[in-house]
């Protein structure tokens, strides 16, 4: 891809980047290309932390940072761009401080937001190289699809437990993320780092490799990881490079740019467990005053928009935590020998909650998902 070299380097830059300048493959031209180049880092967590520091130190001229989160103590096991001194502060601010300390000539553009359907094209179009340091499947698919649409290279990294993966997805020259993984795994097969754990140094390794690939792309040196995927196994200490193929029927990169429509990726369960109940049927059972337990797994904020009368509020994350701690015993207020209706806004979180209830020992025959959730509830609500 190669950016056009910037006109010149200052004396300070010539001093700072001396170790780059003596590399024959890189030299002053490579350094000037980096200075003229730009990179967008999406996510400043475990992957984005080291990537941000190395891109800054290496002399990439303009770096965009996208992250909506603030620094929390649990981040510090791996997110080394931040620290105790900045707990509670936005990650984009703490990363910026560290980056400018390494390279005061940098231009850093802060975007304190989550990447979404509304802002993805606008944000990604402003940069030469995109670095995917996100921590969830829906955002990764959005990064991929937008990069394909705009013809941008997507430096992909992913980690979980002791596994790491790296590739450069550039649909102009090779496969995209969807060619390899057309859809996210169902929820029950896709734990995140909070649930499954990750050795803190794993994203450090992969994030540094992402920075390396981004620098190579901007400087126009070496062979990028296009059409290959690195599989890093931290327990075995093995690095395997796999040759991966473009899918000629890929639902994104086989299309012309203007035909690519960005969509939201919704995480779903593989197979529904338990029964379902429609809103009218539930209303009927309530009218008949049947003994029913209704659990609303939405967040307390969402309860303010109205709840089914008599329902018990139990936000999904807390329900999951309580079930994990219950060791197979029934939770208080949720006996195992009565019908339980589980409701959320659309039926998605409630479906996932039912899986957790079944896994914790509840009888799937006594669990019912409210179809389409509160969005389809026509009856009375209480506040």
């Amino acid at each position: 891809m190669r950016t056009d070299p910037a006109p010149s380097l200052s004396d300070a830059e010539l001093r700072r980047f001396g170790r780059h300048l003596v590399l024959p493959e890189f030299g002053i031209e490579g350094q000037r290309r980096l200075k003229a180049g730009s990179a967008l880092l999406i996510g400043l967590g475990g992957l984005g932390s080291p990537a941000a520091l190395y891109l800054a130190a290496a002399g990439v001229g303009r770096i965009g940072l996208v992250d909506a989160d603030v620094v929390e103590e649990t981040n510090l096991q791996r997110q080394i761009a931040h620290g105790y001194a900045v707990l509670g502060k936005p990650k984009i601010d703490s990363a910026r401080t560290r980056m400018l300390d390494l390279n005061p000539d940098l231009v850093i553009e802060r975007h304190r937001m989550r990447l979404d359907l509304e802002n993805a094209v606008e944000l990604i179009s402003q940069y030469d190289v995109i670095i995917d340091g996100t921590d969830n499947f829906p955002t990764r698919y959005l990064v991929n699809d937008t990069c394909v649409k705009l013809g941008k290279p997507n430096v992909f990294g992913g980690v979980l437990r002791f596994d790491g993966q790296l590739s450069v997805f550039d649909a102009r020259h090779g496969p995209c993320y969807r060619c390899i993984f057309p859809e996210p795994p169902p929820i029950e097969f896709s734990p995140n780092c909070a649930e499954a754990g990750v050795l803190g140094v794993m994203p450090g390794v992969i994030g540094c490799l992402q920075a390396t690939e981004a620098i190579k792309l901007l400087a126009g040196i070496g062979t990028p990881m296009i059409g290959r995927m690195l599989i890093y196994d931290g327990l075995d200490l093995s690095f395997n490079t796999m040759r991966i193929a473009k899918d000629s029927d890929c639902r994104v990169c086989s299309k012309a740019s203007e035909d690519i429509v960005l969509t939201e990726t919704v995480m779903v369960c593989a197979a529904p467990v338990g029964g379902t109940i429609r809103a009218e049927a539930l209303q009927g059972r309530l009218d008949a005053q049947e003994p029913l337990i209704i659990v609303d797994v939405r967040s307390p904020d969402e309860w303010l928009t109205g709840r089914i009368p008599g329902s018990i509020g139990f936000p999904k994350p807390e329900l999951e935590k309580a079930l994990a701690q219950a060791n197979g015993a029934p939770l208080s207020g949720l006996p195992m020998d009565q019908d339980i209706i589980v409701a959320c806004q659309s039926g998605m979180r409630s479906s996932a909650s039912i899986k957790f209830l079944v896994a914790a020992g509840y009888d799937p025959k006594r669990l019912f998902n409210l179809e389409q959730g509160m969005s389809a509830w026509p009856g009375h609500v209480t506040f």
Partner: protein, 89 residues
């Protein structure tokens, strides 16, 4: 015997082994052998008889979609790598 390289997310099905030796003539046979170890694993790798689309399989470092898919022959010295999609960051 061919070797299956197991990602850490699936090692609870391989007694925590990263490499499993088994005899099989094709990728399909090798994966079926591996999946026999548990119903959960079977369900993780396959939807009915089809390989799930969030699981990538390589033979000697090459995506089997570049080869002969599930019917790709494998021999004694071949490595079959299972790659599970990971999104953590």
């Amino acid at each position: 015997m061919a070797v299956i390289l197991v990602p850490s997310s699936l090692r609870r099905y391989s007694d925590q082994q990263s490499r499993l030796s088994l005899s099989a003539g094709t990728i399909a046979e090798a994966l079926a052998r591996f999946a026999e170890r548990s119903k959960d694993l079977q369900n993780h790798l396959f939807a009915g008889k089809t390989l799930r689309n969030f699981v990538v399989v390589c033979k000697n470092g090459k995506d089997i979609r570049l080869l002969n898919g599930m019917e790709t022959p494998i021999g004694d010295t071949d490595e079959v790598q299972i790659i599970a999609s990971v999104a953590g960051g």
